[in-house]
Amino acid sequence: MSAVATRGREAATGEAARPGVAAHAADFPILARPVRGRRLVYLDNAATTQKPSSVIEAEARYYRESNANIHRGVHWLSQHSTDLYEESRERVRALLNAARSEEIVFTRGTTEAINLVANTWARTNLGAGDEILITTMEHHSNIVPWQLVCAQTGAVLRVAPIDDEGALDVDVFAALLGPRTKLVAIAHVSNALGTVNPVARLVELAHAAGAVVLVDGAQAVAHTVVDVQAIGCDFYAFSGHKLYGPTGIGALYGRHELLRAMPPWQGGGDMIHTVSFEGSTWAEVPQRFEAGTPNIAGVVGLSAAIDYLQSVGLERIAAHEHALLEYATEAARSIPGLRLIGTAPEKAGILSFTIDGIHPHDLGTILDTEGVAIRAGHHCTMPLMKRFGIPGTARASLALYNDESDVDALVAAIRRAQELFSGN
């Protein structure tokens, strides 16, 4: 294997990103592998995060030592596996500071969690003329399920606008709330812009108008402390794979009294109390929404990911990423022809941009050959791209293992692309 340039991990000075946190890159085996003969500079964390050895090992160890189907098994392995599964549920409860573990439903991810709410709470509580309020910055997974609900129930979708910096105007949002608003669905952090929404305030306004609130937390949980009781939301959804955990696992937080009133969505084993051909009865929550054998290994991996996150320290990670975002933003502003998309005052570690004369896909391909992994396109936010009048952006997104050398590599690759396109 060709020698891969080592990362500059010498202590940075002053306001620079904390070297301590990024040193954890050594915990992530994939970061040591070269891509196209170059050091992998992984800046596509909003798409998915890489996994530390402890998470990879936890899943493998589950299959080596603990695997059995959960719930109601008579033998030791089944009891042990059930314990691991329910301990993970408690870990998720603690991560979100939910009041009780019954308020945590395991799902495949954020998208399934939102669809669960759409197909149970929304389908039974919305009628013709009721309103669902979302925002322009939403991911397709927080738009399309509501469009389907509207088509089924006759409810109407309304959209709160954003300003040119990518921030929500809270007064305009408030003005869109009315007596017919039954549901508000908003992103905690925008995956395309990095905007951090003032969710607690928005929940307060929505509740005053009598609406239930779902928060899409996919981009938040790995990067900031989330306290669902403090936020006050009724539902909160996130994905394990964006939290240094496995793919195929995520969770929905739902307030207990709401979950208890929701009818089932997927029917089958484990979500029932009794079954007969004359009729079946349902299990209590959260089991009512966990039909069939779940992704047990994924749940175990998620638990290990939460442990890992807490061992590094979410507050330390947030501070590190914030400092790195500032470094990256300043570096980006020094590149001629680069236009930042998403410059709200409150932002997470996401940098979306366009380069004059270079289509995002061309930029992405050139960066790829330099070992720099970013995402280019519409980021599953087509309405947002339309609002900015662009086909897409190039997006670099940060995680705990990124440091200034990654940002420097990104900048160098962008300049290389600009040289190539200018005919030099």
Partner: protein, 149 residues
């Protein structure tokens, strides 16, 4: 993979045809027009043809998208102008094979050979083929929009 591979995709021909696309204009007197759009990546174009006596007398295009899709469309209009329709259809099939199959068809592709580097970047093949599928639809008089994703 090295910078050589990048060079194989983004050759000077591609940059030139992206910077100064040839035949980049509308054609009011066109009798064969078709649109192509890849919504997931944002490439969009319209191909205009004037066909007389079984020959493509004139070809032009308008649109916006990545360098690969623009250069491919530009090179295409140059390659088909003045050619018999049957030859243009044969060229469409051969270019499609050049961009998607392991072994390139036996023919001198001229400047079009510059597009073959896209095979190393499978995600970008649809950018290169969009103009050609649109051309194919235009010749066939097909109403529906072409897409290659």
């Amino acid at each position: 993979m090295t910078r050589g591979d990048l060079r194989e995709l983004y050759q000077e021909v591609i940059f030139d045809h992206n910077r100064r696309p040839r035949n980049f204009h509308e054609m009011p007197e066109a009798d064969h027009v078709a649109e192509g759009h890849n919504p997931l990546c944002g490439d969009q174009l319209t191909v205009y043809l004037r066909v007389r006596d079984g020959r493509v007398e004139d070809a032009s295009f308008l649109g916006h998208g990545c360098a690969i899709s623009t250069a491919s469309a530009s090179l295409m209009t140059e390659a088909v102008k003045g050619q018999p329709v049957d030859d243009v259809e044969a060229l469409f099939r051969d270019v499609h094979a050049l961009l998607t199959e392991k072994d390139a068809p036996e023919r001198d592709f001229g400047k079009l050979a510059a597009l073959s580097g896209v095979k190393e970047f499978p995600v970008r093949v649809k950018c290169a083929t969009l103009a050609w599928h649109t051309l194919h639809n235009a010749l066939a008089g097909r109403g529906e929009q072409a897409k290659t994703e």
